[in-house]
C-alpha cells in the first residue's frame, strides 16, 4: 500500500477548486437579486487564484497533493489528488474560463433595470460555473464512479450551453450531442461495473496495484474507452461535434473545444497509463493511433470544404483531437512513459490546441458579430475592419499548422521525433500531412479576409478593443508555448514516480 498522506492546508485547495464554482452556481440560483455576471466577477478570479496556487504547491513541493474526503480512506471513501499533469490542466481550464468570462461580460449581462435574472445570462453563467467544477473534478478525482458524476455534470452544462440561442438547428445539434454523450456515459458506467465486480475497488491508485490484464479488465477498459471516445468525439464517433460546437455562443464554443472534449481524453490517459499495467500487446495503442490518424486526415479534408467559419473551426477540432491519440503508441517503450518525448508532445499538443482553438472560436465570434454572418466566401475586406481578430486567428492558425514559433510546432516536432525514433514512419507521415491540410484551411480563411472587398464597410459598430485583446492574448499564449524547451518536463512527471 502507498503511504497515505494526511490532509493539510495546501491539499484543501483541491476541495476548494472543485466546490468554489458550485458555490457560485448556488449563489446565482438562490439569490435572484445578485446578477449572475456579478457573481462570476468574484468567482472567476478566485478560481484562477486557486488553480495557480495548486500549480505552485505541486511544482515547488515536487510531489502530488492528496485530500481524503471525510477522512474515509479509499476503497470505501473518496479522495482528490493533484499531480503535475492535473495541476497543468487546472491552470489551463482556469485561464480559458477567465478568457471566456472576460469575452462574455457584455454579451451576457443582465439588462439594466431588471431586478431578477434573465434567461440567457443566467443560463450562460450558471452553466459555465458548473462546467468548471466538473472539469476540475475530472482533473483531480481518483474514483471511477466519481468521474461518472463529473462527466454527467459536464454533459448537462455543455448541452444546455449549445442550445442557448434556441434556434431549431442548434436544438437538433444539442439533442444529437446529448444522445451521443449519454451513450458514452452508459458505456463508461458499464466498464466501471465490471471493474467493481472484478476488484471491488474504484480508486485508480489502489486499482493500479491490483489490476491484471485478464479478459474482464481489458473488456471493461475497452468499454470505458469507447464511451469516453464518444464524448471526446474521436473519429468515427465525432459526428455530433461540428454542429454542436458551431451552434453554441462563441465563448461557450471556445470552452467546449478547448476543454470539454479534453476531459474525457484526460480520463482515457488516466485509464491507459495510470490504471492499466503496461500492456502485453501494443495493438490497442496502434488502433487508437490509427483512429487518430483517420481523424487528422479525413476531418482536415472536411474542414477545407466548409463554407462557414465556425463549422470549419469545429471540424479542425476533431482533426486536432486526432493528434492526441497518436501519443498512445509513442509514449510506449523502455522509458517510463512520462519521461518520453511522445508523452510530452501529446500534453503540449493538448495545451497549445486549447489556447489556439479558444482564440479561433472567439475571433470567429467577433467576426460573426461584426459581419452578421460567418460565410467565408464573403470575408473580403475583413482584415481592414477587424485587424486584431484576424491577426489572432492567424497566430492561432500558426499553432494548428505546426509552424514555428508556436506551441503546436513544438508539440508536433516532439511527436514527429518520437515517431521517427521508434521507427513508426506512418505516424510521422500523418503528422506532416495533417500540418499541410491545416495550412490549407487556415490560409483559405486568411486569404479571403485579406482580399479587398465590401466586408470592410459593412454596418454594425466595431467590437470593443478589450474583447479583441482577450482573443489576441489567447493566440499569443499559443505562440509563446513555442518557446518551451523541446524535452520532457519534470513538472509532468510529478506524482507519477510513485506508480511503479
Amino acid at each position: 500500500m502507498m503511504p497515505v498522506p494526511v490532509n493539510d492546508a495546501a491539499s484543501l485547495l483541491l476541495v476548494l477548486a472543485v466546490l468554489l464554482p458550485i458555490l457560485g452556481l448556488c449563489a446565482m440560483l438562490g439569490l435572484r437579486g445578485l446578477h449572475p455576471e456579478r457573481v462570476a466577477r468574484v468567482a472567476v478570479p478566485l478560481g484562477v487564484a486557486l488553480a495557480v496556487a495548486v500549480l505552485v504547491e505541486v511544482w515547488t513541493g515536487g510531489q502530488a497533493l492528496h485530500y481524503t474526503l471525510g477522512d474515509w480512506e479509499p476503497p470505501l471513501g473518496l479522495r482528490l489528488r493533484a499531480d503535475g499533469l492535473s495541476a497543468v490542466m487546472l491552470v489551463l481550464s482556469a485561464v480559458i474560463i477567465l478568457a471566456a468570462a472576460l469575452f462574455s461580460q457584455r454579451q451576457f449581462r443582465t439588462p439594466e433595470g431588471i431586478a431578477g435574472d434573465t434567461r440567457a445570462p443566467f443560463t450562460f453563467w450558471s452553466m459555465l460555473m458548473a462546467m468548471w467544477s466538473a472539469l476540475n473534478l475530472v482533473f483531480l478525482g481518483e474514483d471511477l464512479f466519481n468521474f461518472f458524476v463529473a462527466l454527467e455534470l459536464l454533459t448537462f452544462s455543455a448541452v444546455t450551453l449549445v442550445c442557448l440561442d434556441g434556434r431549431t438547428a442548434t436544438l437538433h445539434a444539442a439533442l444529437r450531442y446529448l444522445l451521443f454523450a449519454l451513450l458514452g456515459s452508459v458505456l463508461y458506467l458499464l466498464g466501471v461495473a465490471l471493474i467493481y465486480g472484478r476488484y471491488g475497488v474504484l480508486d485508480i491508485g489502489l486499482l493500479h496495484e491490483l489490476v491484471q490484464a485478464d479478459p474482464v479488465t481489458l473488456a471493461a477498459v475497452a468499454m470505458m474507452t469507447v464511451g469516453l471516445m464518444a464524448k471526446a468525439s474521436l473519429f468515427p464517433l465525432h459526428l455530433w461535434l461540428p454542429p454542436a460546437h458551431a451552434g453554441a455562443p462563441p465563448a461557450a464554443s471556445a470552452v467546449l473545444s478547448a476543454l470539454v472534449v479534453k476531459a474525457p481524453f484526460f480520463l482515457i490517459l488516466r485509464l491507459w497509463f495510470d490504471l492499466l499495467p503496461p500492456l502485453p500487446s501494443p495493438l490497442a495503442g496502434q488502433l487508437l493511433a490509427a483512429l487518430g490518424a483517420g481523424a487528422i486526415l479525413l476531418c482536415s479534408l472536411v474542414a477545407l470544404r466548409q463554407a462557414r467559419l465556425k463549422l470549419l473551426i469545429a471540424y479542425s477540432t476533431v482533426a486536432q483531437i486526432g493528434y492526441l491519440f497518436l501519443m498512445f503508441p509513442l509514449a510506449a517503450g523502455p522509458l517510463a512513459f512520462w519521461e518520453t518525448i511522445g508523452w510530452t508532445g501529446g500534453v503540449l499538443q493538448l495545451v497549445s490546441h486549447a489556447f489556439a482553438k479558444a482564440a479561433m472560436f472567439l475571433a470567429a465570434g467577433l467576426i460573426a458579430e461584426t459581419l452578421g454572418h460567418d460565410r467565408i466566401g464573403e470575408f473580403a475586406g475583413l482584415a481592414r475592419r477587424l485587424p486584431v481578430a484576424v491577426a489572432a486567428f492567424a497566430l492561432a492558425g500558426l499553432s494548428l499548422m505546426g509552424l514555428p514559433p508556436s506551441g503546436g510546432f513544438n508539440a508536433k516536432l516532439l511527436l514527429l521525433s518520437a515517431a521517427a525514433a521508434s521507427g513508426q514512419w506512418w505516424i510521422a507521415a500523418v503528422i506532416l500531412a495533417g500540418g499541410m491540410l491545416a495550412a490549407g484551411y487556415v490560409f483559405r480563411v486568411l486569404g479571403a479576409a485579406m482580399a479587398d472587398g465590401p466586408a470592410g464597410e459593412a454596418g454594425g459598430p466595431p467590437s470593443p478593443l478589450a474583447r479583441q485583446l482577450v482573443v489576441l492574448a489567447l493566440a499569443l499564449v499559443a505562440v509563446a508555448l513555442g518557446f518551451v524547451p523541446l524535452q520532457p518536463f519534470a513538472l509532468l512527471g510529478i506524482g507519477r514516480e510513485v506508480l511503479p
Binding site: L23, C26, L29, L78, T123, G197
Partner: protein, 311 residues
C-alpha cells in the same frame, strides 16, 4: 420464491424491453416502459436491494413515467434524427447487439467467485455514523461527495429544462397540463391521496437512517403528491423565479456544504462528522436535501415556464 421466480422475472423483463423497442406506437412504448420500471423494482427486491427497489419504483417507473406521458401527449412528429433504417441495417445492428449481450454474459460468468466486496469495510466503521442502514452510510458518509454532486446534477438538469423556455416567460409558471378543466376523478385523487403520501414519505424518510428507505424515495413521493395537486388545479405551479422556490432548491447543497466545511474545525476534515453528532447532522443534511429534491423533481416534470410571470 426462488429460481423459477427469478427465471420468470428475467423472461418478463426481457420480453417487455423487447416490446418497448419494437412496438409500433410511441404511446404504447411509454406505457410499456412504466410496466418495465415496476418489473425492475421486483428484480431489485430479488437482488436484496430494497433501497434501490424503492428508488426504481419511485423515480425510474413513477417520475420518469409521468414525465414521458406528459411529453408524449404533446410531442408532434420531429424531423428524423435519421431515416428509418433498412432491413440490412437492422440485421447488422441486431447481430452486433446480440454479440455485445453474449460477450457481456461471458464476462458476467467470468467474474471472480467469491466476489470482492466492500460490505465488511462498510460495516466496520458504521458505528461512527450512528446509522443502521449501510446504504445510507455510503450515500451520506463514505461517498458523500457523490451524493452532493448528484443534487447538483439535478439542479443543472432543472436549469437546462428552464433554459428551454422562451425568454419572455423566464421566471414565470410552468403551464403543464393546461388542456381544459381537470377531470373530477383527478381532483378526487388529488384530494384523497396527498395525506397518505405525506405520511408514507415521512415514514420512508425517517426509517431511512436504519432500514431501507431515505430521502430520495420520500422526496419522490412528495413531489408526486405536489404534481398531482398541480395537475388537478388545487395548487398553482410556483413561479420558476419565486424567491422561496429558489431558496428551496439551493437549501440542500448549501446545508450540505456548510456542515461539510464545519468538519474542518470540529472533525477531521471536509465532509467529516464529529462522531457524537454524526447521526443528527446526517439527518439534518437529508432533510435539507429532501426539500431541494422535491422542488427539483416536481419542477423538472412540470417543464419550463410557459406563462408570464405575475408581477
Amino acid at each position: 420464491m426462488s429460481e423459477p421466480f427469478a427465471l420468470l422475472l428475467t423472461l418478463l423483463v426481457l420480453l417487455t424491453a423487447g416490446w418497448i423497442v419494437t412496438v409500433r406506437e410511441r404511446r404504447a412504448a411509454v406505457f410499456g416502459f412504466i410496466a418495465y420500471g415496476l418489473l425492475l423494482a421486483l428484480v431489485w427486491i430479488r437482488l436484496a436491494a430494497v433501497d434501490v427497489a424503492l428508488t426504481e419504483a419511485a423515480i425510474g417507473g413513477g417520475a420518469t413515467g409521468v414525465l414521458l406521458l406528459r411529453v408524449s401527449a404533446r410531442l408532434g412528429s420531429i424531423r428524423g434524427m435519421s431515416a428509418p433504417p433498412g432491413l440490412a441495417t437492422r440485421w447488422i445492428a441486431g447481430v452486433l447487439c446480440a454479440g455485445v449481450s453474449l460477450a457481456l454474459m461471458a464476462l458476467v460468468l467470468a467474474l471472480p467467485d467469491p466476489a470482492p466486496s466492500l460490505a465488511a469495510a462498510a460495516m466496520e466503521p458504521i458505528g461512527r455514523t450512528g446509522l443502521g442502514n449501510p446504504v445510507t452510510a455510503v450515500l451520506l458518509a463514505y461517498r458523500a461527495l457523490d451524493t452532493f454532486l448528484e443534487i447538483i446534477v439535478l439542479l443543472l438538469a432543472l436549469i437546462g429544462v428552464w433554459s428551454l423556455g422562451a425568454d419572455r416567460f423566464w421566471g414565470g409558471e410552468p403551464a403543464a397540463w393546461r388542456t381544459g378543466p381537470p377531470s373530477p376523478a383527478l381532483v378526487f385523487l388529488a384530494r384523497v391521496l396527498p395525506p397518505f403520501g405525506i405520511v408514507i414519505a415521512g415514514y420512508l424518510f425517517w426509517i431511512g437512517a436504519d432500514e431501507p428507505g431515505g430521502k430520495f424515495q420520500a422526496s419522490t413521493i412528495l413531489a408526486a403528491m405536489w404534481l398531482l395537486a398541480m395537475m388537478a388545479g388545487l395548487a398553482p405551479p410556483p413561479r420558476t423565479g419565486a424567491r422561496g422556490l429558489r431558496a428551496a432548491l439551493v437549501a440542500g447543497p448549501l446545508v450540505f456544504l456548510a456542515i461539510g466545511f464545519a468538519g474542518l474545525w470540529w472533525a477531521d476534515g471536509f465532509l467529516a462528522y464529529p462522531d457524537a453528532f454524526a447521526k443528527p447532522l446526517i439527518i439534518l443534511i437529508e432533510a435539507a436535501l429532501a426539500v431541494s429534491i422535491v422542488a427539483a423533481l416536481a419542477l423538472m416534470v412540470a417543464g419550463p415556464a410557459e406563462r408570464l410571470p405575475r408581477r
